[in-house]
């Protein structure tokens, strides 16, 4: 043995798992942020419903709050009842 690793400093970039897709509500790619935000990342996170559809959290919250009846809060993609995963 001639060489041994003492210390390793690595670099990793994190992305959303749904990265290749775009948000069903605002049509922006998940890689980018919702139209109300300026910077993607922690400040504009994604959420998944039980139906496994992801949205920008700002987009889905806006959608949900625009729904009249709380009971009828549905996923805009599949019309199942929306529940956060």
């Amino acid at each position: 043995m001639k060489v041994k690793i003492k210390k390793w400093t690595g670099v990793a970039v994190w992305k959303w798992t749904a990265n290749d897709d775009s948000c069903g509500i605002c049509r922006m790619p998940f890689e980018a942020c919702c139209p109300d935000c300026r910077i993607p990342g922690d400040d504009c996170p994604l959420v998944w419903g039980q139906c496994s559809h992801p949205f920008h959290i700002h987009c889905i919250m806006k959608w949900l709050s625009s729904q009249q009846m709380a009971a009828a809060q549905l996923c805009p993609m599949c019309r199942q009842g929306w529940r956060f995963r």
């Binding site: 690595g10 670099v11 990793a12 970039v13 798992t17 998944w48």
Partner: protein, 881 residues
């Protein structure tokens, strides 16, 4: 009268004393006359209104001791009510007490002031105090005076021939004075004769006679001056002499003598006829005072003679010219003659005009000649000296009314006429050599003439632009490297010039700014890039030349340059790339400096500009926290390879985009990496991690026969080195297979290990470049002084690639920005002509764009149906909703 301030009384008193000393007895008498009147009035002041203080009382006392007998006479005057009434309003005590007037009468200038303000109305008020005379002694009168005095006491009838007799004595006296002979009658008597004549309303006749007498004398002397053989001879000689030697002084001296004599005579005459001057003349508007009459006669009969005048004036001019040529001349003579001209009120017509013409001519010639001969600093010093000389001339003999035209004439001829030439010839050299003293001189001189500073400012700006362009567009790559430092030095230099020499003149400060902004943006993008790189080099660790304060100052200066840059996005891209490198490799010199730079940028360009940069710092801090938690997590696990792992986790949007690449890690490393992945994803659901092997780095412990070393290397270098644990000799192909590193990258990595400064590998065969089929062995003979060695990656090629990609990205971003701006504008305007759209775009966009680029973007937007061409006007666009 009641408000006579002590100062006036003092002046009066000292005047009397001065006159006394000079032996002009009768003036003193007259003076005392008024003085006592003042005294009397002061005494009669209501004690409530104003107290005589000690000083004034002392003066009163002194006045009494000087001429007690006048006092007595005065006393008599005031006992006689009628006389007093007659006398008091006529007295121009106010004018007399005016120090200005007093001085005038001493310096033989204008005569009596016809001052309208006779405000001694309170004289003789009720409650007048008794005048106490201390140390009073009766002095025996002269017989003549006695006689005259007796008229005053008892009413007197004048005989018909009184005028004749009286005038005869006066005539004799005047003629004696005119011939500079002693006057036989005492002047006091003469004065009283005049007084009497006036009182019996014979003033007009006396004035007439006096005028006639004076006129005859003056015109006679003028004729003598011109025709008398001796004078003529002298005169001719003088002219001859003047022509031969240029000496005009003798003529001037004669003139001066004549003038002085005339003045003295007129003063004497006036003193005798003072009463006339103050009563009849003062109240008759049509006649001039005796002094003015004298001046008038001199003007009309002597100086207005064309020959005399022209020769005097040309003599004066010659004398002044001589002085200007550096000779010493009699300034008192000049002063006296010029004073004469202004007293005669022909200074302006007769002298000033010609003088200014001569000056103009002289300096025009001198200016043209010296501008050619001398270099600029010498010329400027010369001009400064000239101005000083002229100033002295004004101080010493010229009339102060000449100041404005004279100085402006010199300024115009010596500076104003040569502005362009001086600037062309000298400014650049002065600035180049940083001759601050000469530059300040130039500024102060140019500030004197109209347009001077404007021209200087324009030339200054032009110089900055010219010099700046050569800095910004260097002929070789070497210049690029030093460009920013040169720019900083240049800016420093110009700033100090503006501060020291140009007095921080706002125009110059602005023109420096404008000029810098202009030339720095003439070369697109490169300066912005170089400024970012310059900052990188200063903020990198290992740059220990500067203390923190120095660094801070330097950053401030760089910010000034940054402000001039139009394409700030280019700067941001490069700065971001460099900052990322500094943060990831841990090369940043000081977090404080980084943060302060960030806050400066934020201040300059707003939060939008720096939010990504701030995000990078945030990422680094978050990563630290995560690593702490991870270490704790690992310490609770079993069967973990002993490896010290630190991971920086980056948020996509903040950092520059890195090309993903896959390499084969050692199994131990892969295990460890997976442990971390699991740990991280458990904490943050919905995410995935993409590792960037190109950015990672390691510290390796290497065991050499000569000693053990710590090697600080990149992850790729580490991977290559780790392969030597298994075998002795590895070929290029094997490396490729084992590590899966991209070919170009692998070659560079191996080159850095085997052909760089620090050679831990040996290449077979030897050579600078890595070729196919090359083999590598571990360098057993490796030695190095240091214990911890950093092996640099070979950057050259990478940088050009990076550079291009950074530029590429910037241009891409710009395209989006242009698109967005066009759509924004069209959305608000609905329809807009091409040119107006361009105008608004240039306004909105913060980076330089070319019209052709914009056209392309408009085409593309039309293709994408964001807008369309106007149906009627092909040069207009309309927005498509």
């Amino acid at each position: 009268m009641l408000e006579v301030p002590p100062l006036h009384i003092q002046t009066l008193l000292s005047t009397f004393q001065a006159v006394h000393c000079h032996g002009l007895e009768f003036l003193l008498l007259n003076g005392c006359h008024f003085c006592l009147d003042v005294c009397f009035q002061l005494d009669s002041i209501d004690p409530d209104l104003g107290d005589l203080d000690d000083e004034e009382e002392a003066w009163e006392e002194e006045a009494c001791t000087i001429r007690p007998r006048r006092l007595k006479r005065k006393f008599l005057f005031h006992t006689d009510d009628q006389r007093k009434k007659k006398f008091a309003p006529k007295m121009d005590v106010d004018g007399l007490l005016d120090p200005e007037n007093k001085r005038n009468s001493l310096t033989n200038r204008n005569g009596v002031h016809k001052s309208p303000g006779i405000n001694n109305t309170k004289v003789g008020n009720a409650g007048a105090r008794k005048l106490v005379i201390r140390n009073f002694k009766e002095v025996k009168r002269l017989s003549g005076a006695h006689e005259v005095l007796s008229w005053i006491d008892k009413p007197m009838k004048l005989t018909d021939d009184y005028l004749e007799t009286a005038w005869k004595s006066l005539y004799e006296a005047v003629v004696a004075i005119q011939q500079s002979k002693p006057v036989s009658t005492s002047k006091e008597q003469l004065y009283e004769v005049v007084e009497n004549l006036c009182k019996f309303k014979m003033a007009p006749q006396v004035y007439e006679k006096l005028l006639h007498l004076a006129e005859v004398h003056v015109s006679g002397s003028a004729e003598r001056f011109l025709q008398y053989p001796l004078y003529l001879l002298l005169y001719r000689n003088v002219i001859q002499h003047c022509r031969e030697t240029g000496d005009s002084e003798t003529l001037l001296r004669i003139m001066d003598k004549a003038w002085q004599a005339h003045c003295q005579q007129m003063i004497m005459i006036r003193h005798i006829f003072l009463y006339l001057d103050r009563s009849y003349v003062l109240h008759t508007a049509s006649v001039a005072s005796i002094w003015d009459m004298g001046l008038d006669l001199f003007r009309v009969h002597i100086i207005s003679h064309p020959k005399v005048q022209s020769r005097t004036v040309s003599g004066l001019l010659q004398l002044i010219e001589k002085e200007r040529a550096g000779e010493v001349v009699d300034r008192t003579l000049l002063k006296s003659l010029l004073r004469m001209l202004s007293d005669l009120q022909i200074y302006r017509e007769a002298f000033e005009h010609k003088f200014l013409e001569a000056t103009d001519e002289l300096y025009a010639v001198e200016g043209h000649q010296l501008v050619e001969e001398l270099d600029v600093p010498a010329y400027l010093t010369h001009v400064k000296r000239r101005l000083k000389e002229e100033d002295e001339r004004l101080l010493h003999y010229l009339d102060s009314s000449t100041r404005l035209p004279l100085i402006s004439c010199v300024e115009r001829q010596l500076i104003g006429e040569h502005l362009t030439q001086l600037i062309q010839k000298g400014l650049e050299i002065l600035l180049e050599d940083e001759r601050l003293g000469d530059l300040s001189l130039m500024y102060t001189l140019f500030a004197r003439v109209k347009e001077g500073l404007k021209e200087l400012c324009t030339a200054f700006a032009a110089y900055i632009k010219k010099k700046g362009r050569t800095i910004v567009n260097p002929s070789d790559a070497e210049g690029d490297r030093t460009m920013v430092q040169e720019l900083l030095d240049f800016k420093d230099c110009m700033d100090s010039v503006v501060e020291v020499c140009f007095h921080q003149n706002e125009k110059f400060v602005n023109s420096v700014k404008e000029a810098f902004e202009c030339f720095i943006n003439q070369r697109q993008n490169k300066p912005a890039e170089l400024i970012a790189k310059f900052l990188d080099s200063k903020l990198k660790a290992g740059n220990k030349e500067a203390t923190e304060e120095e660094l801070e100052r330097l950053l401030d200066k760089v910010m000034v340059l940054f402000r001039f840059i139009h394409g700030k996005d280019v700067f941001e891209a490069f700065y971001k790339k460099d900052l990322a490198k500094r943060l990831l490799v841990g090369k940043s010199a000081s977090v404080d400096a980084e943060k302060s730079m960030l806050s400066k940028l934020k201040q300059e360009c707003g939060g939008g500009f720096t939010c990504k940069l701030e995000g990078m710092f945030k990422d680094m801090e978050l990563s630290k926290d995560i690593m702490l938690a991870f270490k704790q997590h690992v310490s609770n696990m079993k069967n973990v390879p002993g490896l010290d792992l630190n991971v920086s986790i980056l948020t996509m949007g903040y950092w520059p985009t890195y090309q993903p690449c896959e390499v084969t890690l050692l199994p131990a490393m892969v295990t460890y990496q997976n442990i971390f992945n699991k740990f991280y994803l458990a904490k943050h659901s919905g995410r995935k991690l993409q590792w960037q092997p190109t950015l990672g780095h390691c510290v390796l412990k290497a065991y050499f026969p000569q000693g053990n070393k710590d090697l600080q290397v990149s992850l790729l270098q580490a991977l290559c080195l780790l392969l030597f644990n298994e075998t002795e000799e590895i070929g290029l192909e094997e490396f490729k297979q084992e590590t899966n590193i991209e070919d170009g990258e692998l070659r560079r990595t191996l080159q850095s290990l085997a052909c760089g400064k620090v050679r831990v590998l040996q290449k077979i065969p030897r050579g600078r470049d890595v070729e196919d089929g090359d083999k590598f062995v571990f360098n057993k003979a490796f030695t190095n002084k240091l214990c911890r060695i950093k092996i640099n990656q070979i950057q050259m090629k990478e940088t050009t690639e990076e550079n291009e990609s950074t530029h590429e990205r910037v241009f891409q971003d710009r395209q989006y920005q242009i698109d967005a701006a066009i759509v924004r504008i069209m959305k608000t305007r609905k329809t807009l002509s091409h040119n107006l759209l361009l105008l608004e775009l240039y306004d909105q966009l913060k980076f330089p764009v070319m019209a052709s680029d914009i056209k392309k973007r408009i085409e593309s937007l039309i293709d994408r149906d964001y807008m369309e061409r106007g149906r009627d006007d092909p040069n207009a666009y309309s927005y498509v909703a």
